[in-house]
Symmetry: C2
Subunit: 589 residues, 2 copies
């Protein structure tokens, strides 16, 4: 089934939804109903009626009945007057008709015809439907209700949006619904709550996550992992301020491009300061703090940088879209001759980091080469030769490592081309997780120079890159990827100790102390609960290992170990288990 | 020599300074010249004359001549008219005279009399002088020149301030100058520059330090040390946002008390957000994210919290006074019955951390118990019984550990009494480095409750505390404390490898790789320089160990080690050195 057919099926199903709604709610006003990724929606103004999940079932039933008798579409061209007459009491459609007519578009109406040859539903539409709806719409389902402003503008009236999906076969629908259910179960906001990893507070503000004890452990492990790995690869890890004078971003040229996603200025004495939306100029100021020699290049300046970018409150999504985030950022200041090798090393690091999480290129993530548009001097710095050269450097890096990649015109940064790391989430949705950028503009703006072998000043280039992206996003991604069952090195609690009854508590405490001494994150569950309940609790919390100790274990000075996946090993020595556990942790398995 | 006499000597020396200046610069206008801690100053308006360091020598010589013939002071009461007539062309003195007269003060003039019985200098003054200046001012010195606004107001004219000091004996002056020289050498701003630990940038903004690679290593080590130690002691280390809605600080009641040291609000949509000046309410929101049981208490929530407080640009001092800083902060939410033990544990932690840096209670730091003022309801929350109880808890904690402490009235926080940790810097200056606070107000404002054994709600108390203070301040303190020669665990470079000539580079590289694998911070100095120059460079950078390898070492597969302090050991095995080094690092010696 190709994408086009699937889209036609879903667009047809949107007509079917509207037909059913109008039969059940004759006073409802239709607005728009397009096919979207994975399904369709239709927005209605239900007036004083309130639609609930139960009504959705009725609408679905009505759709099923209408579909049985749906033969096809009948297309008619109409004048704006005819169209407006049809929608007399519907201001939304009239607004659309006037807009389309004003743009000189041909207006078309589509009648949905039954087998008797009667139109059971008619709507203004540009087309793109199934020819034989009854045959082609093998299965459909309404999925959810949501509020949506007319034309997406919060100054307008809030409408009721009904989401649905449709497929050629029942099997495909079932498969899709299973995937949705799994995605719902894995939703990092849901798991974050269940495992108490992070919270939001209305008093603190929207889009500003607070990491609890457990979530902070995961975050700290990720941060320490990335810092250690980057230092090993020759990065200098620094700390720079999260605010800076507005002049810094004007100097860098970021301000006009980023203004809308920056927060309002903070006045200090007679200066204005900004929450920083990016790290680049901060790192350049460190570079510029003294004269540099070619011997110091490439200088790889890295930081876990707190950044602040405006997101509309409606678009905030747990840790994935927050108003403050921490980017594993770096700027490599290099000679032109070193740039290619540095870009290559960036991809080496990215692929290594991804491999630690079991992520595979091609499967979980892919590369995209984002190019500038030579004709757009507003969006892209004008220097054709520099663009050609930079694009070729990045292209050859990708080609030489035989990486699959697509090229995307007009997706570059204003200062140069970039390689986007496109990450696929559990539900198959692809997003740019982070980038490797080639920058020939900032070195000019900031005079990022160095003294060459002859003692003469030369201009450097900058490679901007992340290794793992924003800590918030990668946490959200990993929560969903592992469905909360983190590998042992990332687990907030690595071992739960389960004494079978009170009399085993002392022995359990002995083991607890040994593990604590070895920096194992262990929880001693000495509550007055049954063993079964303690084990169930540890499993719900997705703790990788449970050590159970009862009479037998105490006598033999041994332990029994249950893994999160259900495997049990009885009567093994604590020392043996510790060696295995520490290896697993240090190897990040 | 008591403080009063010392002050009289210095105040007399200020008259002497002004007398010398007026003889050399008859057009200079005098303003004020008090004794201060460690010396004195006098502010002059030199008109169009510019005073340089060379002029200072001349002024000193003139002072010496005048002092030889200085018999004593002659006190005279005068009317405002008489005084104003004396200072006809000096608007500063006239302003002072009018002010004092307006306040109904008796005006006095002091004549400095020589042995002939003549007045060689006369000034308006309240008194407080040496009776026999020639005898009592055993030694004096002018120290520096600075600009100072008339009456400290930047809207007024900038005057020239001349600083000096005076002592009863030459020996005491010498000792003081040596101390000043040592303090100057140890100044963290100077060492920070020499060792390239941190920089400031005009483009980023005043009071916002950027940590370079090397400074960041020290900071990271300090942070990881404190996080690890706190977690070991049962703290939950969290991450919370650096900004929050202004409503949060209104809810906490901090806003009216902290408003002046908070930065201006950031507008996001229709809400105002603030750079946070403190962490407390952020941690309370985590506590409030779900219902709590008595079994979870005491809950010790800690964070390396980025905080922002306004400092006047004139008061910014390197890392000691910055506009952004990172506090090792914590809030212990406890039952009333647990508060005393928790306060005790805080002091245990503080004393342990201090001991790691070789700091001793009584010598390097001391305790101060800061109490509220029951009569001041504006500054302190009204609840006499709660104050009595809280003050007694803290007092008994200090008494039980037999700690020396002073009590200070009216120095408490608005929500309860506190123990201040008073730290002495190298020059003997004492400051409150951080505090342990007992808070019975926030639990009410935030409803910090828990369910007790009977399932009933009870109100908690909060202990606010730091363990090491602000990372910025502690770094500044340690830089001065160690004069840049950090213990090995904190040293940015722990070992410098010095191959004697090119042919030893490969062997040095072998050793380098081994040390890198063991996470030792090592620098291979394979520049084409002499061994002596490489060693000198490492010593200037205060690197704890230098490994020197030449023919002998290469043949025997051994190394020679020089320590920063100059000790040398030749022909030892690398393995032996590594064991010693790793022990020294892990024991933080």
């Amino acid at each position: 089934m190709n994408e086009e057919n699937l889209k036609n099926i879903r667009h047809s199903a949107a007509h079917l939804l509207a037909a059913a709604v109008l039969e059940l709610y004759p006073n409802a006003k239709r607005t728009i109903g397009p096919a979207i990724e994975n399904g369709f929606y239709y927005d209605f103004d239900f007036g004083s009626d309130t639609i609930t999940e139960e009504d959705i079932v009725k609408i679905e039933e009505k759709m099923g009945k209408l579909l049985k008798d749906w033969k096809g579409f009948n297309r008619r061209e109409v004048t704006a007057e005819e169209a407006k007459e049809f929608y007399t009491d519907n201001p939304y459609k009239i607004e659309l008709i006037e807009q389309f007519a004003g743009e000189g578009q041909t207006l078309t109406m589509y009648d949905s015809m039954n087998y008797k040859g009667e139109a059971f539903y008619t709507d203004l539409c540009r087309g793109g439907h199934s020819e034989f709806p009854k045959k082609e719409i093998g299965a459909f389902k309404l999925l959810s209700l949501a509020g949506a402003y007319w034309r997406g503008d919060e100054k307008n009236k809030m409408l009721t949006r009904i989401y649905g999906t449709a497929f050629p076969t029942k099997e495909e629908l079932e498969q899709h619904l299973e995937m949705l259910e799994e995605a719902r179960k894995r939703d990092h906001r849901r798991i974050g709550k269940e495992l108490d990893l992070f919270v939001f507070s209305d008093s603190v503000g929207k889009g500003l996550p607070l990491y609890t004890h457990k979530g902070s452990i995961i975050r700290r492990e990720l941060e320490q992992f990335i810092i250690k790995e980057e230092i090993k690869r020759g990065y200098q890890h620094v700390y720079t301020p999260d605010i800076a004078s507005i002049e810094l971003y004007k100097k860098s040229g970021h301000y006009p491009y980023y203004k809308d996603s920056m927060y309002s200025p903070i006045q200090i004495d007679d200066e204005q300061f900004m929450l920083r939306p990016m790290t680049c100029p901060h790192h350049f100021e460190i570079y510029l703090s003294r004269p540099r020699s070619y011997k110091e290049l490439p200088m790889r300046i890295a930081e876990l940088a707190h950044l602040y970018r405006y997101e509309k409150s409606g678009e905030l999504t747990g840790l994935i879209r927050a108003r403050a985030f921490t980017l594993a950022d770096a700027h490599i200041i290099a000679r032109v001759s070193q740039a290619k090798d540095e870009a290559k090393r960036c991809l080496d690091l990215i692929e290594y980091v991804a491999s630690v999480f079991g992520l595979k290129q091609g499967e979980n993530y892919s590369y995209r080469l984002s190019l500038g548009d030579r004709t757009d001097d507003k969006k892209y710095f004008k220097d054709d030769k520099a663009w050609e050269n930079a694009e070729e450097v990045l292209r050859s890096v990708l080609k030489e490592r035989k990486a699959q990649f697509v090229e995307a015109e007009g997706e570059a940064a204003f200062y140069g081309p970039k390689i986007d790391i496109q990450m696929k989430n559990f539900a198959g949705k692809e997003d740019t997780a982070f980038t490797v950028q080639y920058d020939f503009v900032m070195p000019k703006r900031f005079s990022l120079n160095y003294l060459n072998e002859e003692g003469k000043e030369e201009e450097a280039v900058v490679v901007h890159r992340s290794s793992i992206g924003a800590i918030e996003r990668v946490m959200a991604f990993l929560i969903e990827h592992y469905a909360g069952a983190f590998p042992t090195w990332l687990s907030p609690v690595q071992v739960t100790l389960v004494p079978i009854s009170d009399k085993h508590n002392d022995y359990a405490k002995e083991i607890f102390d040994k593990l604590i001494d070895l920096d194992v994150r262990v929880y001693l569950d000495d509550r007055a609960e049954t063993m079964q309940s303690k084990i169930r609790n540890a499993q719900l919390q997705k703790v990788p290992y449970m050590i159970v100790v009862g009479d037998k274990e105490m006598e033999a000075k041994q332990i029994s170990v249950r893994s999160r996946s259900g495997e049990s090993r009885n009567g093994i020595s604590l020392e043996e288990f510790i060696i295995e556990l520490k290896t697993e942790i240090s190897e990040k398995k």
